[in-house]
Amino acid sequence: MTDWLIHFSQDFLETCRDVLPIVAIIIGFQVLVIRKPILHPAQTFLGFLNVLIGITFFLDGLKMALFPLGELMATQLTAPEFLGIAANTEQADWHNYLWVYLFAASIGFATTLAEPSLLAVAVKAEEISGGAIGAWGLRIAVSIGVAFGISLGAYRIVTGTELYYYIIAGYIVVMIQTIFAPKLIIGLAYDSGGVTTSTVTVPLVAALGLGLASTVPGRNPLLDGFGLIAFASLFPIITVLAYAQLAEWRNKKRNSSNQSPSK
Protein backbone atom coordinates (compact mmCIF):
# COMPACT_ATOMS: atom_id res chain seq x y z
CA MET A 1 0.00 0.00 0.00
CA THR A 2 2.75 2.48 0.90
CA ASP A 3 4.61 1.36 -2.20
CA TRP A 4 1.59 2.17 -4.23
CA LEU A 5 1.14 5.57 -2.53
CA ILE A 6 4.71 6.54 -3.32
CA HIS A 7 4.26 5.39 -6.87
CA PHE A 8 1.02 7.31 -7.21
CA SER A 9 2.44 10.54 -5.80
CA GLN A 10 5.42 10.23 -8.15
CA ASP A 11 3.07 9.97 -11.10
CA PHE A 12 1.07 12.88 -9.76
CA LEU A 13 4.20 15.03 -9.54
CA GLU A 14 5.14 14.04 -13.07
CA THR A 15 1.73 15.13 -14.34
CA CYS A 16 2.14 18.41 -12.45
CA ARG A 17 5.52 18.96 -14.10
CA ASP A 18 4.02 18.38 -17.53
CA VAL A 19 1.31 20.97 -17.02
CA LEU A 20 3.52 23.50 -15.25
CA PRO A 21 4.33 25.49 -18.43
CA ILE A 22 0.62 25.77 -19.24
CA VAL A 23 -0.25 27.00 -15.76
CA ALA A 24 2.64 29.49 -15.85
CA ILE A 25 1.49 30.89 -19.20
CA ILE A 26 -2.13 31.22 -18.10
CA ILE A 27 -1.32 32.88 -14.78
CA GLY A 28 1.38 35.07 -16.32
CA PHE A 29 -0.95 36.45 -18.99
CA GLN A 30 -3.85 36.77 -16.59
CA VAL A 31 -1.79 38.84 -14.15
CA LEU A 32 0.49 40.79 -16.49
CA VAL A 33 -1.58 41.37 -19.61
CA ILE A 34 -5.26 41.00 -18.82
CA ARG A 35 -4.78 42.35 -15.28
CA LYS A 36 -8.04 41.06 -13.95
CA PRO A 37 -8.57 38.55 -11.18
CA ILE A 38 -9.67 35.08 -12.27
CA LEU A 39 -13.39 34.52 -11.79
CA HIS A 40 -14.22 31.92 -9.14
CA PRO A 41 -10.60 31.17 -8.21
CA ALA A 42 -11.56 28.46 -5.73
CA GLN A 43 -13.70 26.57 -8.19
CA THR A 44 -11.11 26.90 -10.95
CA PHE A 45 -8.38 25.65 -8.67
CA LEU A 46 -10.51 22.72 -7.55
CA GLY A 47 -11.37 21.90 -11.14
CA PHE A 48 -7.73 22.01 -12.15
CA LEU A 49 -6.89 19.69 -9.27
CA ASN A 50 -9.62 17.36 -10.51
CA VAL A 51 -8.08 17.36 -13.96
CA LEU A 52 -4.65 16.55 -12.56
CA ILE A 53 -5.96 13.78 -10.32
CA GLY A 54 -7.98 12.46 -13.22
CA ILE A 55 -5.02 12.30 -15.59
CA THR A 56 -2.84 10.67 -12.94
CA PHE A 57 -5.38 7.95 -12.17
CA PHE A 58 -6.01 7.48 -15.84
CA LEU A 59 -2.35 7.01 -16.75
CA ASP A 60 -1.67 4.86 -13.70
CA GLY A 61 -4.57 2.61 -14.61
CA LEU A 62 -3.44 2.38 -18.21
CA LYS A 63 0.10 1.48 -17.18
CA MET A 64 -1.21 -1.14 -14.78
CA ALA A 65 -3.80 -2.80 -16.93
CA LEU A 66 -3.95 -1.97 -20.57
CA PHE A 67 -0.47 -1.14 -21.79
CA PRO A 68 1.23 -4.36 -20.68
CA LEU A 69 -1.63 -6.44 -21.98
CA GLY A 70 -1.87 -4.50 -25.25
CA GLU A 71 1.84 -4.79 -25.86
CA LEU A 72 1.83 -8.45 -25.00
CA MET A 73 -1.03 -9.03 -27.41
CA ALA A 74 0.69 -7.07 -30.15
CA THR A 75 3.79 -9.25 -29.85
CA GLN A 76 1.76 -12.46 -29.56
CA LEU A 77 -0.36 -11.66 -32.59
CA THR A 78 2.61 -10.74 -34.75
CA ALA A 79 4.74 -13.71 -33.71
CA PRO A 80 5.44 -15.98 -36.72
CA GLU A 81 4.47 -19.08 -34.69
CA PHE A 82 1.00 -17.71 -34.05
CA LEU A 83 0.50 -16.71 -37.67
CA GLY A 84 1.75 -20.09 -38.88
CA ILE A 85 4.52 -18.83 -41.12
CA ALA A 86 7.97 -20.30 -41.37
CA ALA A 87 10.39 -17.90 -39.72
CA ASN A 88 12.84 -17.89 -42.61
CA THR A 89 10.55 -16.81 -45.43
CA GLU A 90 11.89 -13.95 -47.51
CA GLN A 91 8.64 -12.34 -48.46
CA ALA A 92 5.63 -11.75 -46.23
CA ASP A 93 2.24 -12.71 -47.59
CA TRP A 94 -0.30 -10.17 -46.42
CA HIS A 95 -3.08 -12.79 -46.19
CA ASN A 96 -1.43 -14.30 -43.17
CA TYR A 97 -1.93 -11.22 -41.08
CA LEU A 98 -5.73 -11.04 -41.08
CA TRP A 99 -5.92 -11.29 -37.29
CA VAL A 100 -3.50 -8.40 -36.99
CA TYR A 101 -5.68 -6.13 -39.14
CA LEU A 102 -8.73 -7.13 -37.17
CA PHE A 103 -6.97 -6.50 -33.88
CA ALA A 104 -5.63 -3.17 -35.13
CA ALA A 105 -9.12 -2.09 -36.17
CA SER A 106 -10.81 -3.15 -32.93
CA ILE A 107 -8.18 -1.72 -30.61
CA GLY A 108 -8.14 1.52 -32.63
CA PHE A 109 -11.90 1.81 -32.37
CA ALA A 110 -12.04 1.00 -28.67
CA THR A 111 -9.18 3.23 -27.55
CA THR A 112 -10.47 6.20 -29.51
CA LEU A 113 -13.87 5.92 -27.82
CA ALA A 114 -12.10 6.28 -24.47
CA GLU A 115 -9.81 9.12 -25.54
CA PRO A 116 -10.29 12.06 -23.11
CA SER A 117 -9.35 14.77 -25.65
CA LEU A 118 -11.92 13.52 -28.10
CA LEU A 119 -14.53 13.52 -25.34
CA ALA A 120 -13.73 17.15 -24.58
CA VAL A 121 -14.08 18.22 -28.21
CA ALA A 122 -17.26 16.17 -28.69
CA VAL A 123 -18.89 17.73 -25.63
CA LYS A 124 -18.00 21.21 -26.87
CA ALA A 125 -19.29 20.49 -30.37
CA GLU A 126 -22.61 19.22 -29.07
CA GLU A 127 -22.93 22.28 -26.86
CA ILE A 128 -22.29 24.80 -29.64
CA SER A 129 -24.24 23.10 -32.37
CA GLY A 130 -27.24 22.95 -30.04
CA GLY A 131 -27.35 19.17 -30.30
CA ALA A 132 -27.29 19.03 -34.10
CA ILE A 133 -23.97 17.21 -33.88
CA GLY A 134 -24.33 14.51 -31.26
CA ALA A 135 -21.33 13.77 -29.09
CA TRP A 136 -21.83 10.04 -29.59
CA GLY A 137 -22.22 10.27 -33.34
CA LEU A 138 -19.05 12.27 -33.62
CA ARG A 139 -17.10 9.92 -31.39
CA ILE A 140 -18.24 6.87 -33.30
CA ALA A 141 -17.40 8.49 -36.63
CA VAL A 142 -13.91 9.35 -35.39
CA SER A 143 -13.42 5.87 -33.95
CA ILE A 144 -14.36 4.23 -37.22
CA GLY A 145 -11.83 6.46 -38.95
CA VAL A 146 -9.08 5.48 -36.54
CA ALA A 147 -10.00 1.79 -36.81
CA PHE A 148 -9.80 1.89 -40.57
CA GLY A 149 -6.64 4.00 -40.54
CA ILE A 150 -4.72 1.76 -38.19
CA SER A 151 -5.63 -1.47 -39.95
CA LEU A 152 -4.65 0.09 -43.28
CA GLY A 153 -1.42 1.23 -41.65
CA ALA A 154 -0.77 -2.34 -40.46
CA TYR A 155 -1.38 -3.56 -44.00
CA ARG A 156 1.13 -1.00 -45.25
CA ILE A 157 3.79 -2.24 -42.85
CA VAL A 158 3.18 -5.84 -43.91
CA THR A 159 3.32 -5.07 -47.62
CA GLY A 160 6.09 -2.49 -47.25
CA THR A 161 4.58 0.07 -49.62
CA GLU A 162 5.58 3.71 -49.39
CA LEU A 163 3.89 5.71 -46.64
CA TYR A 164 3.38 8.90 -48.61
CA TYR A 165 1.32 7.31 -51.39
CA TYR A 166 -1.38 6.52 -48.83
CA ILE A 167 -1.14 9.87 -47.12
CA ILE A 168 -1.30 11.82 -50.36
CA ALA A 169 -4.25 9.75 -51.56
CA GLY A 170 -5.94 10.49 -48.22
CA TYR A 171 -5.31 14.21 -48.66
CA ILE A 172 -6.89 14.16 -52.09
CA VAL A 173 -10.00 12.45 -50.68
CA VAL A 174 -10.19 15.07 -47.91
CA MET A 175 -9.92 17.91 -50.45
CA ILE A 176 -12.70 16.50 -52.61
CA GLN A 177 -14.92 15.93 -49.58
CA THR A 178 -14.27 19.47 -48.36
CA ILE A 179 -15.90 20.85 -51.50
CA PHE A 180 -19.11 18.92 -50.92
CA ALA A 181 -19.36 18.78 -47.13
CA PRO A 182 -21.58 21.18 -45.17
CA LYS A 183 -19.50 24.21 -44.18
CA LEU A 184 -20.43 23.88 -40.51
CA ILE A 185 -18.59 20.63 -40.00
CA ILE A 186 -15.29 21.40 -41.76
CA GLY A 187 -13.43 22.91 -38.82
CA LEU A 188 -14.61 20.20 -36.47
CA ALA A 189 -13.69 17.46 -38.93
CA TYR A 190 -10.17 18.80 -39.42
CA ASP A 191 -9.75 19.10 -35.67
CA SER A 192 -10.88 15.56 -35.00
CA GLY A 193 -7.83 14.30 -36.85
CA GLY A 194 -5.54 15.82 -34.26
CA VAL A 195 -7.38 14.84 -31.11
CA THR A 196 -7.52 11.12 -31.72
CA THR A 197 -3.94 10.39 -30.95
CA SER A 198 -2.99 11.20 -27.43
CA THR A 199 -2.69 9.37 -24.15
CA VAL A 200 -4.40 6.08 -24.87
CA THR A 201 -3.91 5.44 -28.54
CA VAL A 202 -0.27 6.39 -29.12
CA PRO A 203 1.46 3.86 -26.84
CA LEU A 204 -0.73 0.94 -27.93
CA VAL A 205 -0.46 1.80 -31.60
CA ALA A 206 3.28 2.36 -31.40
CA ALA A 207 3.69 -1.06 -29.76
CA LEU A 208 1.70 -2.67 -32.55
CA GLY A 209 3.71 -0.89 -35.25
CA LEU A 210 7.05 -1.78 -33.75
CA GLY A 211 5.95 -5.38 -33.11
CA LEU A 212 4.87 -5.76 -36.72
CA ALA A 213 7.91 -4.08 -38.22
CA SER A 214 10.29 -6.24 -36.21
CA THR A 215 8.61 -9.58 -37.03
CA VAL A 216 7.56 -9.17 -40.65
CA PRO A 217 10.49 -10.34 -42.80
CA GLY A 218 12.24 -7.60 -44.72
CA ARG A 219 10.99 -4.69 -42.58
CA ASN A 220 13.17 -2.33 -40.65
CA PRO A 221 11.52 -1.35 -37.35
CA LEU A 222 13.30 1.99 -37.39
CA LEU A 223 11.92 2.92 -40.78
CA ASP A 224 8.64 1.05 -41.05
CA GLY A 225 7.49 1.22 -37.43
CA PHE A 226 6.54 4.86 -37.82
CA GLY A 227 3.55 6.07 -39.74
CA LEU A 228 0.64 4.39 -37.93
CA ILE A 229 -0.11 7.57 -36.00
CA ALA A 230 -0.24 9.51 -39.26
CA PHE A 231 -2.88 7.09 -40.52
CA ALA A 232 -4.81 7.43 -37.27
CA SER A 233 -4.93 11.20 -37.62
CA LEU A 234 -5.83 11.32 -41.30
CA PHE A 235 -8.74 8.91 -41.63
CA PRO A 236 -10.99 10.41 -38.91
CA ILE A 237 -11.14 13.59 -41.02
CA ILE A 238 -12.58 11.54 -43.87
CA THR A 239 -15.11 9.69 -41.73
CA VAL A 240 -16.30 12.81 -39.91
CA LEU A 241 -16.81 14.62 -43.22
CA ALA A 242 -18.67 11.56 -44.49
CA TYR A 243 -20.79 11.48 -41.33
CA ALA A 244 -21.79 15.11 -41.87
CA GLN A 245 -22.64 14.49 -45.50
CA LEU A 246 -24.71 11.47 -44.56
CA ALA A 247 -26.58 13.41 -41.86
CA GLU A 248 -27.31 16.23 -44.29
CA TRP A 249 -28.45 13.86 -46.99
CA ARG A 250 -30.77 12.06 -44.57
CA ASN A 251 -32.24 15.35 -43.41
CA LYS A 252 -32.91 16.43 -46.98
CA LYS A 253 -34.54 13.14 -47.83
CA ARG A 254 -36.76 13.30 -44.76
CA ASN A 255 -37.73 16.89 -45.49
CA SER A 256 -38.69 16.19 -49.07
CA SER A 257 -40.69 13.09 -48.16
CA ASN A 258 -42.95 14.72 -45.58
CA GLN A 259 -42.82 18.36 -46.72
CA SER A 260 -42.79 19.84 -43.24
CA PRO A 261 -39.20 20.25 -42.02
CA SER A 262 -38.67 17.86 -39.19
CA LYS A 263 -36.77 19.07 -36.20
Binding site: N50, I55, F57, I128, G194
Partner: protein, 244 residues
Protein backbone atom coordinates in the same frame (compact mmCIF):
# COMPACT_ATOMS: atom_id res chain seq x y z
CA UNK B 1 -23.78 18.21 -2.05
CA UNK B 2 -26.39 15.74 -3.18
CA UNK B 3 -26.37 17.22 -6.65
CA UNK B 4 -22.62 16.91 -6.91
CA UNK B 5 -22.75 13.34 -5.71
CA UNK B 6 -25.37 12.63 -8.24
CA UNK B 7 -23.28 14.09 -11.05
CA UNK B 8 -20.28 12.18 -9.84
CA UNK B 9 -22.17 8.90 -9.95
CA UNK B 10 -23.52 9.61 -13.39
CA UNK B 11 -20.06 10.53 -14.62
CA UNK B 12 -18.59 7.30 -13.23
CA UNK B 13 -21.21 5.34 -15.06
CA UNK B 14 -20.54 7.07 -18.38
CA UNK B 15 -16.78 6.68 -17.91
CA UNK B 16 -17.33 3.00 -17.46
CA UNK B 17 -19.29 2.90 -20.72
CA UNK B 18 -16.35 4.63 -22.44
CA UNK B 19 -13.90 2.05 -21.23
CA UNK B 20 -16.04 -1.03 -21.82
CA UNK B 21 -15.15 -1.44 -25.54
CA UNK B 22 -11.42 -1.67 -24.78
CA UNK B 23 -12.04 -4.38 -22.21
CA UNK B 24 -14.27 -6.29 -24.60
CA UNK B 25 -11.68 -6.17 -27.40
CA UNK B 26 -8.83 -7.22 -25.15
CA UNK B 27 -10.78 -10.05 -23.53
CA UNK B 28 -12.24 -11.40 -26.75
CA UNK B 29 -8.88 -11.48 -28.50
CA UNK B 30 -7.12 -12.92 -25.51
CA UNK B 31 -9.65 -15.70 -24.94
CA UNK B 32 -10.92 -16.48 -28.43
CA UNK B 33 -7.93 -15.80 -30.67
CA UNK B 34 -4.70 -16.01 -28.74
CA UNK B 35 -6.21 -18.56 -26.36
CA UNK B 36 -3.87 -17.95 -23.49
CA UNK B 37 -4.72 -17.13 -19.88
CA UNK B 38 -4.60 -13.46 -18.96
CA UNK B 39 -1.60 -12.65 -16.79
CA UNK B 40 -2.19 -10.56 -13.65
CA UNK B 41 -5.97 -10.50 -13.58
CA UNK B 42 -5.94 -8.48 -10.36
CA UNK B 43 -3.81 -5.75 -11.92
CA UNK B 44 -6.14 -5.62 -14.89
CA UNK B 45 -9.19 -5.12 -12.67
CA UNK B 46 -7.60 -2.52 -10.40
CA UNK B 47 -6.06 -0.72 -13.37
CA UNK B 48 -9.39 -0.56 -15.19
CA UNK B 49 -11.06 0.87 -12.08
CA UNK B 50 -8.33 3.53 -11.99
CA UNK B 51 -8.94 4.43 -15.60
CA UNK B 52 -12.66 4.83 -14.92
CA UNK B 53 -11.96 6.97 -11.87
CA UNK B 54 -9.41 9.02 -13.79
CA UNK B 55 -11.79 9.74 -16.67
CA UNK B 56 -14.46 10.76 -14.15
CA UNK B 57 -12.24 13.27 -12.37
CA UNK B 58 -10.94 14.58 -15.68
CA UNK B 59 -14.41 15.24 -17.08
CA UNK B 60 -15.58 16.91 -13.86
CA UNK B 61 -12.50 19.14 -13.75
CA UNK B 62 -12.82 19.99 -17.43
CA UNK B 63 -16.19 21.66 -16.94
CA UNK B 64 -15.03 23.41 -13.79
CA UNK B 65 -11.69 24.76 -14.93
CA UNK B 66 -10.19 24.24 -18.38
CA UNK B 67 -13.26 25.22 -20.41
CA UNK B 68 -14.10 28.31 -18.30
CA UNK B 69 -10.45 29.49 -18.22
CA UNK B 70 -10.02 29.18 -21.98
CA UNK B 71 -13.28 30.98 -22.67
CA UNK B 72 -12.87 33.75 -20.12
CA UNK B 73 -9.37 34.49 -21.44
CA UNK B 74 -10.70 34.61 -24.99
CA UNK B 75 -13.40 37.10 -23.92
CA UNK B 76 -10.90 39.17 -21.96
CA UNK B 77 -8.54 39.41 -24.92
CA UNK B 78 -11.38 40.25 -27.30
CA UNK B 79 -12.52 43.04 -24.98
CA UNK B 80 -9.03 44.37 -24.47
CA UNK B 81 -8.66 44.59 -28.22
CA UNK B 82 -4.92 44.13 -28.29
CA UNK B 83 -4.12 41.88 -31.20
CA UNK B 84 -0.42 41.86 -30.38
CA UNK B 85 -0.85 40.38 -26.91
CA UNK B 86 -3.39 37.88 -28.11
CA UNK B 87 -0.95 36.62 -30.72
CA UNK B 88 1.89 36.49 -28.19
CA UNK B 89 -0.38 34.51 -25.88
CA UNK B 90 -1.34 32.12 -28.69
CA UNK B 91 2.27 31.44 -29.58
CA UNK B 92 3.27 30.91 -25.94
CA UNK B 93 0.34 28.57 -25.36
CA UNK B 94 1.25 26.43 -28.35
CA UNK B 95 4.97 26.43 -27.64
CA UNK B 96 4.65 25.90 -23.88
CA UNK B 97 2.19 23.06 -24.03
CA UNK B 98 4.14 21.18 -26.69
CA UNK B 99 7.71 21.50 -25.52
CA UNK B 100 6.99 19.49 -22.36
CA UNK B 101 4.73 16.92 -24.02
CA UNK B 102 5.88 13.41 -23.00
CA UNK B 103 4.80 11.79 -26.27
CA UNK B 104 6.88 14.31 -28.21
CA UNK B 105 9.96 13.73 -26.06
CA UNK B 106 9.68 10.01 -26.74
CA UNK B 107 9.23 10.45 -30.49
CA UNK B 108 12.10 12.98 -30.72
CA UNK B 109 14.63 10.68 -29.05
CA UNK B 110 13.46 7.80 -31.21
CA UNK B 111 13.92 9.95 -34.29
CA UNK B 112 17.42 10.96 -33.19
CA UNK B 113 18.37 7.29 -32.91
CA UNK B 114 17.07 6.65 -36.41
CA UNK B 115 19.07 9.59 -37.72
CA UNK B 116 22.23 8.37 -36.02
CA UNK B 117 21.84 4.85 -37.45
CA UNK B 118 21.20 6.31 -40.89
CA UNK B 119 24.46 8.31 -40.71
CA UNK B 120 22.60 11.59 -40.95
CA UNK B 121 24.33 12.79 -37.80
CA UNK B 122 27.37 11.53 -35.90
CA UNK B 123 26.60 8.50 -33.76
CA UNK B 124 27.60 10.08 -30.46
CA UNK B 125 25.53 10.78 -27.40
CA UNK B 126 25.87 14.56 -27.58
CA UNK B 127 24.99 14.70 -31.27
CA UNK B 128 21.92 12.55 -30.68
CA UNK B 129 20.76 14.65 -27.75
CA UNK B 130 21.28 17.83 -29.68
CA UNK B 131 19.33 16.49 -32.63
CA UNK B 132 16.45 15.40 -30.36
CA UNK B 133 16.37 18.75 -28.62
CA UNK B 134 16.43 20.59 -31.94
CA UNK B 135 13.55 18.47 -33.16
CA UNK B 136 11.53 19.14 -30.01
CA UNK B 137 12.05 22.88 -30.26
CA UNK B 138 11.17 22.74 -33.96
CA UNK B 139 7.89 20.98 -33.28
CA UNK B 140 7.06 23.25 -30.33
CA UNK B 141 7.76 26.36 -32.40
CA UNK B 142 5.63 24.99 -35.22
CA UNK B 143 2.70 24.40 -32.86
CA UNK B 144 3.08 27.92 -31.44
CA UNK B 145 3.09 29.26 -34.96
CA UNK B 146 0.04 27.14 -35.81
CA UNK B 147 -2.05 28.48 -32.91
CA UNK B 148 -0.95 32.03 -33.80
CA UNK B 149 -2.05 31.63 -37.43
CA UNK B 150 -5.24 29.88 -36.31
CA UNK B 151 -6.18 32.73 -33.96
CA UNK B 152 -5.41 35.28 -36.65
CA UNK B 153 -7.66 33.31 -38.98
CA UNK B 154 -10.55 33.42 -36.50
CA UNK B 155 -10.16 37.18 -36.10
CA UNK B 156 -9.85 37.93 -39.79
CA UNK B 157 -12.42 35.31 -40.80
CA UNK B 158 -10.30 33.57 -43.42
CA UNK B 159 -11.85 30.32 -44.64
CA UNK B 160 -10.22 27.36 -42.96
CA UNK B 161 -10.12 24.91 -45.84
CA UNK B 162 -7.97 27.09 -48.13
CA UNK B 163 -5.22 27.24 -45.51
CA UNK B 164 -5.43 23.54 -44.69
CA UNK B 165 -5.41 22.52 -48.34
CA UNK B 166 -2.49 24.88 -48.92
CA UNK B 167 -0.70 23.13 -46.07
CA UNK B 168 -1.45 19.72 -47.57
CA UNK B 169 -0.03 20.85 -50.91
CA UNK B 170 3.12 22.04 -49.18
CA UNK B 171 3.54 18.66 -47.44
CA UNK B 172 3.02 16.82 -50.69
CA UNK B 173 5.53 19.06 -52.47
CA UNK B 174 8.13 18.71 -49.72
CA UNK B 175 7.91 14.93 -49.31
CA UNK B 176 10.00 13.95 -52.39
CA UNK B 177 12.83 16.25 -51.29
CA UNK B 178 12.92 15.28 -47.61
CA UNK B 179 15.31 12.50 -46.51
CA UNK B 180 13.50 9.14 -46.39
CA UNK B 181 14.29 8.57 -42.71
CA UNK B 182 12.49 11.69 -41.58
CA UNK B 183 9.22 11.24 -43.50
CA UNK B 184 7.57 8.71 -41.19
CA UNK B 185 8.61 10.72 -38.14
CA UNK B 186 7.43 13.98 -39.67
CA UNK B 187 4.00 12.53 -40.49
CA UNK B 188 3.69 11.05 -37.01
CA UNK B 189 4.80 14.20 -35.22
CA UNK B 190 1.64 15.90 -36.40
CA UNK B 191 -0.39 13.48 -34.33
CA UNK B 192 1.56 13.48 -31.10
CA UNK B 193 1.59 17.19 -30.42
CA UNK B 194 -1.90 17.63 -29.09
CA UNK B 195 -2.13 16.52 -25.49
CA UNK B 196 -5.01 15.92 -23.13
CA UNK B 197 -4.75 19.35 -21.53
CA UNK B 198 -3.93 21.34 -24.66
CA UNK B 199 -6.95 20.17 -26.60
CA UNK B 200 -9.70 21.38 -24.21
CA UNK B 201 -7.87 24.64 -23.54
CA UNK B 202 -7.25 25.42 -27.21
CA UNK B 203 -10.78 24.37 -28.21
CA UNK B 204 -12.28 26.64 -25.54
CA UNK B 205 -10.02 29.48 -26.67
CA UNK B 206 -11.06 29.15 -30.31
CA UNK B 207 -14.75 28.78 -29.58
CA UNK B 208 -14.66 31.63 -27.05
CA UNK B 209 -12.94 33.94 -29.54
CA UNK B 210 -15.33 33.06 -32.32
CA UNK B 211 -18.35 33.71 -30.14
CA UNK B 212 -17.07 37.04 -28.79
CA UNK B 213 -16.21 38.56 -32.16
CA UNK B 214 -19.10 39.92 -34.19
CA UNK B 215 -19.84 38.13 -37.42
CA UNK B 216 -18.08 34.89 -36.49
CA UNK B 217 -19.93 31.65 -36.03
CA UNK B 218 -18.45 29.50 -33.25
CA UNK B 219 -19.29 26.35 -35.17
CA UNK B 220 -17.63 27.44 -38.42
CA UNK B 221 -14.82 29.60 -37.08
CA UNK B 222 -14.24 28.27 -33.58
CA UNK B 223 -12.75 24.93 -34.57
CA UNK B 224 -9.62 24.44 -36.62
CA UNK B 225 -6.89 25.42 -34.19
CA UNK B 226 -6.01 21.79 -33.49
CA UNK B 227 -6.02 21.04 -37.19
CA UNK B 228 -3.31 23.68 -37.66
CA UNK B 229 -1.42 22.33 -34.69
CA UNK B 230 -1.25 18.91 -36.26
CA UNK B 231 -0.41 20.19 -39.73
CA UNK B 232 2.51 22.58 -39.22
CA UNK B 233 4.74 20.11 -37.33
CA UNK B 234 4.87 17.92 -40.46
CA UNK B 235 6.09 20.85 -42.55
CA UNK B 236 8.57 22.07 -39.95
CA UNK B 237 9.99 18.62 -39.21
CA UNK B 238 10.54 17.89 -42.90
CA UNK B 239 12.24 21.26 -43.26
CA UNK B 240 14.38 20.42 -40.24
CA UNK B 241 15.35 17.10 -41.85
CA UNK B 242 16.28 18.83 -45.09
CA UNK B 243 18.43 21.46 -43.41
CA UNK B 244 20.48 19.04 -41.31
Amino acid sequence: MFLRNNRFVRQIFSSFLDLAPILVVVLVFQIAVIQQPIPDVLDLIVGSLFVVLGLTFFMLGLEQSLFPIGESMAYAFAKKGSLFWLLVFSFCLGFGTTVAEPALIAVASEAANVAAKGDVIANTESAINQYALGLRLTVAASVGFAILIGVLRIIRGWPLHYIIIGGYCMIVAMTPFAPAEIIGIAYDSGGVTTSTITVPLVTALGVGLASSIKGRNPMIDGFGLIAFASLTPMIFVMAYGMLI
